[in-house]
């Protein structure tokens, strides 16, 4: 297990990426590296601004998008009270961060690996690509609704084979699903990794099970502790037992989890 900690760190940058019609802002939040020696892409951290006070007693979980010696970066879509407050942070503000948490994605060398990202589900794959020993084996397929500049897609497409499909309306869904399934079939002997909204993960899981494709999916649940203690974030595993998404996941083998 990677060494984890809880620290107060300073915000280095809050970069505004765009607004979508929900309305919902997209921001890239970079904070000082809290002394993490390493992490496994797919892991996440819990964030809380120091000056939030007590109205929101929980931190908020975000995929670790990239890490370097000085800093850690997250991509955040504003959807509610906590993300609104995070997007309003400014450099030098103090954030409480605990992580790296959870298990992360497998990263076998020299294995054709399909990265399936839906919306903000792209976040963990940025670091995945940067840290991968054989990026030439990676293929990113990105399904999105707001335009591409809301996401770190461009930087990623420079490093690996990458395609993006936009969902302009729900009429596009059958096409998108077909594209996902076709790409999965191409990787039937390799590995498929998926991160995105639950309906998207259901599609991936169903197809993986049907075609016996090795796949891992990253789940999202509301979390209070992030460390496996509160039992608020459970899902059912293959045997129907409740397991904590934060501690036993967020990444699960497609066959080992009920969503």
């Amino acid at each position: 297990m990677v060494e984890r900690n809880c620290r107060e760190v300073k915000v280095r940058e809050v970069r505004f990426l765009g607004t979508w019609d929900e309305p919902s802002d997209f921001v890239e939040l970079t904070v000082e590296n809290p002394g993490w020696e390493s992490y496994k892409p797919g892991q996440f951290a819990m964030l809380r601004a120091k000056h939030w006070g007590l109205e929101l007693p929980w931190g908020r979980p975000f995929s670790i998008s990239r890490v370097d010696a000085e800093s850690v970066t997250f991509f955040i879509q504003v959807v509610g009270r906590g993300t609104t407050r995070l997007a309003r942070l400014r450099p030098e503000d103090v954030v409480i961060i605990w992580g790296p948490l959870g298990n992360g994605f497998s990263a076998p060398t020299k294995t054709p690996t399909l990265l399936l990202a839906g919306g903000m589900g792209i976040a963990p794959f940025r670091g995945y690509i940067e840290n991968h020993p054989s990026p030439e084996f990676l293929h990113l397929l990105f399904a999105h609704r707001p335009s591409l500049d809301h996401y770190p897609f461009l930087a990623m497409s420079e490093k690996v084979r990458a395609e993006a499909i936009q969902e302009r309306s729900s009429d596009d869904l059958p096409d998108i699903i077909a594209r996902i399934e076709a790409s999965m079939d191409e990787h039937a002997d390799g590995l498929v990794l998926a991160c995105g909204p639950t309906p998207f993960l259901r599609t991936v899981q169903a197809h993986a099970l049907k075609k016996s494709i090795r796949a891992e999916i990253s789940l999202e649940k509301t979390m209070a502790c992030g460390v496996g203690a509160c039992l608020g974030c459970v899902c059912k595993d293959g045997q129907g037992k409740h397991v904590q998404v934060c501690a036993r996941g967020p990444v699960f083998a497609a066959a080992d989890v009920q969503i």
Binding site: G59, C225, H242
Partner: protein
């Protein structure tokens, strides 16, 4: 250096800060965020005789300055705890308190039997929140007669280990419940457990929790917890452990001023996973604010008009 040691009900704790059941897992989840040996005590997640899967999801909801939970006592069962968790805990240095959950008096007795036999278990905490179906569905913990009965049974089987009865605030008269625990032979009472609450999602038109209702905890309930502890301290002569909305050393001292021997920290462990350790670090500074260097001097020193 200020001495933070507290002694009560046969327990000796290095400080009055205990982590509350269900909010600190089995302790081990927090070992990367602080040295578990520094805690006064750890109350582990509620244990039942058999493993329990708990309630369906969603089980938690954030509310203003608080949260609701309806976990449903998911736990691996008492055997698995004793086998897999207890040996890893620093039970020689920190009091490990077993929180017991059962739905009948004999079950409570059996649990007490199994747990009290373990050297690593410092005390038993009795959670009487299960609805008692044979008694018309209201929880054990809302009926003084039932509280006395359960306490008596657990105490008989506790092999001399301290028995702490954890009280529910969802009653007209919590002091009578505390009195019943004392009459039943409890060595201490701890309070409060969560307030019964609910949340609604207007978009889906459903209760936010699959269980419909859940327990409210966190800073929001601290005023209710303080009132309950005040009422109970004035009624019983056994030690009282204060619980409810404690997030800071100042909060902990508020309960001690009312007469609490120690406190439990629950929801605050979610504010950040090192919060219980920070509260311990802060205690001496908070004691200076109250102009004291002794917890014994502070305890129960509230000035009433």
């Amino acid at each position: 250096m200020i001495d933070l040691r507290v002694e009560f009900a046969g327990l000796v704790l290095k400080n009055p800060i205990i982590t509350a059941s269900g909010t600190f897992g089995f302790g081990l989840e927090f070992s990367s965020f602080g040295d578990l040996k520094r805690l006064g005590g750890i109350v582990v997640k509620g244990l039942s005789l058999k493993p329990r899967e708990g309630n369906p999801m969603p089980r938690i909801a954030e509310t203003p300055c608080g949260m609701l939970n309806a976990i449903g006592i998911q736990n691996p069962g008492v055997e698995a705890f004793l086998r897999d968790k207890l040996p890893l805990l620093p039970w020689r240095e920190t009091a490990i308190i077993a929180n017991m959950y059962a739905c009948t008096v004999p079950e409570f007795g059996e649990l007490a039997d199994v747990l009290a036999g373990e050297e690593g278990v410092a005390a038993l905490e009795v959670n009487v929140s299960c609805p008692n179906v044979s008694q018309g569905g209201s929880a054990f913990g809302q009926d003084p007669a039932q509280i006395a009965k359960v306490t008596d049974e657990v105490k008989k089987r506790a092999k001399g280990k301290p028995v702490i009865v954890k009280l529910s605030p969802n009653v007209t008269d919590i002091a009578s419940c505390a009195q019943a625990a004392e009459d039943g032979g409890a060595d201490a009472v701890s309070l409060i457990n969560t307030l019964l609450g609910m949340a609604v999602d207007i978009r889906t038109r459903k209760p936010t929790l699959a269980n419909v209702v859940g327990g409210l905890s966190g800073p929001a309930i601290k005023p209710v917890a303080l009132r309950c502890v005040h009422q109970v301290c004035r009624k019983v002569s056994i030690p009282v452990i204060g619980i409810g909305g404690i997030v800071s050393a100042e909060d902990a001292l508020e309960f001690i001023l009312l007469g609490a021997s120690a406190v439990q920290v629950g929801t605050a462990n979610f504010l950040r996973p090192d919060q219980s350790f920070r509260i311990i670090d802060d205690l001496p500074r908070a004691m200076i604010k109250a102009r004291s260097d002794s917890l014994d001097e502070l305890r129960g020193s509230l000035k009433l008009p």
